[in-house]
């Protein structure tokens, strides 16, 4: 009996020796991710204030989120932002990746050039530059003026400022592009050959061969981009400061404002959790929907 138990034990150890390799990551993950995650869940049910502490418990913060028009408006703007940027960014990334997959002269240069914005994009300097590009006498309006068009006031028009932020995100399609490029390389050449023998042109090949085969990667990019878009912070913070008239106040920006400027940790946590739930639901929808449009080559169907 004893020996059986010890064999069982050593088997367990052998089978799970990998755990030790990830132990350092695991400790960091628990301290810096799981703990704040759990704490924020707890705070979201309290009136946690950075300096006044906790005085009451309940669901009132969630109630406040849904009854404060400012926050609801920012949720709407965030949805708008995500649903504008994610499809456009994926289309841009796939399109450029498809072109860069051809054997063109200097293709490596172009691959690098298109990837550069993704490395720079998250940085503060580019956001500052973006503001300079779109200001009244910035380069965009100067070029428009060259053609005799009077450029709009991009940063101050509530209808256009969101597009300035969106464009910054769409411009940074490099990382999705690289993933698409890898996927495109994985599409077997004999399928294209067969398609062209059947008389399919480049477009037909793209839509009937390429797209179906890379749907798993499209799916992966969709989910990651969706998660990131909902958490965009740099653009509104640096370029527009949430304005004009709160037209670019994305949710993550509000979370920061409430948490670190007004010290309302409870409310900020509640907003974060609602954001998390929204992301969770959207991800579940994406996962449920994939059986209708994502093709896995090892799939039984």
């Amino acid at each position: 009996m004893d020996s059986a138990a010890s064999t069982h034990k050593s088997k367990f150890f052998k089978r799970n020796v990998g755990l030790f390799f990830i132990l350092i990551w695991l400790i960091g993950f628990i301290i810096f991710k799981v703990y704040p995650f759990a704490t924020s869940l707890y705070y979201s049910f309290t009136d946690m204030h950075l300096f006044n502490g906790i005085h009451k418990f309940g669901l009132f913060q969630y109630e406040k989120v849904f009854t404060t028009s400012k926050i609801m408006k920012s949720l709407k703007i965030t949805f708008k932002y995500a649903f504008i940027t994610v499809p456009l960014k994926l289309i841009a990334a796939l399109f450029i990746a498809y072109i860069l997959n051809f054997k063109i002269k200097g293709v490596n240069f172009f691959r690098t050039a298109y990837y550069v914005p993704s490395i720079l994009g998250g940085s503060v300097a580019v956001a500052v530059l973006w503001k300079a590009v779109f200001k009244n006498d910035g380069i965009i309006n100067t070029i428009l003026g060259f053609f005799g068009v009077e450029g709009p006031n991009w940063l101050a028009d509530p209808g256009k400022a969101l597009w300035v932020i969106c464009l910054l995100r769409i411009w940074q399609f490099g990382s999705s592009m690289v993933i698409f490029l890898a996927a495109l390389k994985g599409v077997p050449a004999d399928l294209y050959e067969a398609a062209s023998l059947d008389g399919a042109g480049k477009w037909r090949q793209f839509f009937s061969v390429t797209i179906p085969l890379i749907t798993p990667v499209i799916f992966y990019n969709l989910v990651t981009q969706l998660c990131q878009a909902f958490q965009e912070f740099n653009g509104p913070y640096i370029i527009t400061n949430g304005g004009p008239l709160q037209s670019t106040s994305l949710v993550a920006y509000f979370v920061y404002k409430y948490a670190f400027e007004q010290y309302e940790m409870g409310l900020a946590s509640a907003i974060s959790w609602i954001l998390f739930l929204i992301l969770l639901v959207l991800t579940i929808i994406a996962f449920v929907s994939q059986r209708y449009w994502v093709y896995y080559s090892d799939d039984e169907n």
């Binding site: 950075l50 300096f51 200001k135 940063l155 400061n241 004009p244 709160q246 920061y256 404002k257 954001l275």
Partner: protein
């Protein structure tokens, strides 16, 4: 098997979303943060008191915000302090105002703040409303000379009987004009409201659509309106924790601000946002004189003066006597110094503060870097050596002589003053014509009321 795979994928992506959730943090730490260790040995606090010296060998820390000139002067003063008191090591940490408050708030809340801190006046209300964040300076009165300060100014920094901070200087808003631009328009700088309103049209006719005699952001407009209302109606904005003005009076004030835009006195907010500058002193239209006036704190006006392009002259203006029969306007403690309550070295921290704010050596180096000093000793020392900036001194004396009203501590609450706060909402929508004057008044009354009742 298929189900298990799907489930695995789903949980992995949930995990991913979870790990992204931690990334929403601020990534733009632009404030220059520097720490320096002096060459003196870092002795620990247990090395015992040297009774001959009157202080312990120890390491203390200090923090402040400001511009480059203030940084240089303060560092020089700290180094002189360390030379005078060998054995005390001072670590320092400084930066620009932008985001400084959020960084300090987390330090105060987590108990990791430096021993001595330059604080904004409303921090007492925000971070230490029960008096527990900052040390009661009465407990170190034998080291820090409180007698140099007027009693009524010290009272502004008290929570109950506990003196939370020492006020370094007083400040108020006052007009500054770009005289060069007014000269170009062929008129003198405005001394009355009527002249200001007329200047709008003159600027438009003589200099062009791009020129305005004044430029006010959202928060500046709020302050300008309160100065106007106080001049006209002769009462504090907030009295005994309640708004002291009726809806009609507030509508009058808002109409006045609106009229400044209509008369081409100041640019609309849309124009200012379209300029794409972070602040007015970085706006090319201020630098080149297109915007020829500001209503600014006397303690921070030098920043706007030094931003001007070569050949432009900035002068201190006068308060308008035709706004009303009262001397409208409020003053406030521009900034203070406080000792963190958790400090292990209150005595040495107080020594450092006294050196910087009261002793001749320190105040000579710091002169008017933090405004015109309230400390009688510092003022006497700086005046006798002629160290004070002439424009700062002129503006400060005008402010102190004119402004009759009190600033309530919640006027600068971030729920009002912040970029998503009430003032931005009210004056933004008013300028964009989304609110009528009446709607703006309602929004302002509701927003201020909500903050006051917090």
């Amino acid at each position: 098997m298929k189900l298990a795979k799907r489930f695995m994928a789903l949980s992995l992506s949930a995990l991913m979303a979870l790990s992204f959730a931690g990334c929403g943090d601020k990534t733009s730490d632009t404030s220059a943060t520097t720490k320096a260790n002096s060459t003196t040995k870092a002795a620990d606090s247990n090395s015992g008191t040297d009774s001959g010296k009157g202080y312990e060998d120890c390491e203390i820390s200090i923090s402040w915000w400001g511009g480059d000139a203030r940084h240089e002067a303060t560092i020089a003063a700290i180094e002189a302090f360390q030379k005078k008191y060998p054995g005390i090591t001072v670590k320092y940490n400084y930066g620009a105002w932008s985001d400084w408050e959020t960084a300090m708030a987390t330090q105060f809340s987590s108990g990791t703040a430096p021993d001595v801190n330059q604080i904004n006046w409303n921090w007492i209300e925000s971070y230490s409303s029960d008096g527990s964040t900052f040390l009661d300076l009465n407990t170190v009165a034998d080291t820090f000379d409180l007698t140099q300060y007027p009693e009524d100014k010290l009272d502004l920094c008290k929570v109950g009987d506990s003196l939370q901070a020492v006020p370094v200087s007083m400040t108020g808003r006052i007009f500054y004009w770009n005289k060069t631009t007014f000269d170009k328009a062929g008129i003198g700088v405005p001394t009355t409201n009527a002249e200001l309103l007329a200047a709008g049209q003159t600027f438009k006719d003589v200099l062009g659509d791009d020129y305005y005699p004044l430029s006010l952001g959202e928060y500046d407009r709020m302050i300008c309106m309160v100065y106007y209302l106080e001049s006209k109606y002769g009462k504090n904005w907030v009295e005994n924790g309640a708004l002291n003005y009726t809806k009609e009076e507030i509508m009058d004030g808002l109409s006045y601000i609106d009229s400044l835009e209509d008369n081409h006195v100041m640019p609309t907010l849309a124009i200012q946002i379209g300029d794409g500058a972070d602040s007015l002193d970085k706006n090319s239209k201020w630098i080149n004189g297109n915007y020829a006036g500001i209503l600014e704190w006397d303690s921070s006006a030098t920043k706007y003066r030094s931003a001007l392009a070569e050949g432009q002259e900035m002068v201190v203006g006068n308060y308008f006597t035709d706004w009303g029969s009262n001397q409208g306007g409020f003053t406030k403690v521009s900034l203070g110094f406080a000792i963190t309550a958790t400090t292990k070295h209150p005595h040495e921290s107080a020594m450092l503060m006294n050196y910087l704010l009261n002793e001749d050596e320190g105040t000579t180096l710091l002169n008017s870097q933090r405004g015109i000093p309230l400390s009688a000793a510092a003022l006497a020392n700086c005046t006798s050596q002629n160290l004070l900036d002439e424009m700062v001194a002129e503006a400060n004396s005008k402010v102190l002589a004119w402004c009759d009203y009190q600033l309530d501590a919640k006027f600068e609450d971030s729920s009002l003053k912040g970029s998503d706060g009430v003032y931005y909402d009210v004056f933004g929508n008013l300028s964009y014509d989304n609110y009528t004057v009446e709607q703006a008044a309602d929004a302002l009354i509701e927003g201020v009321g909500a903050t006051l009742s917090k």
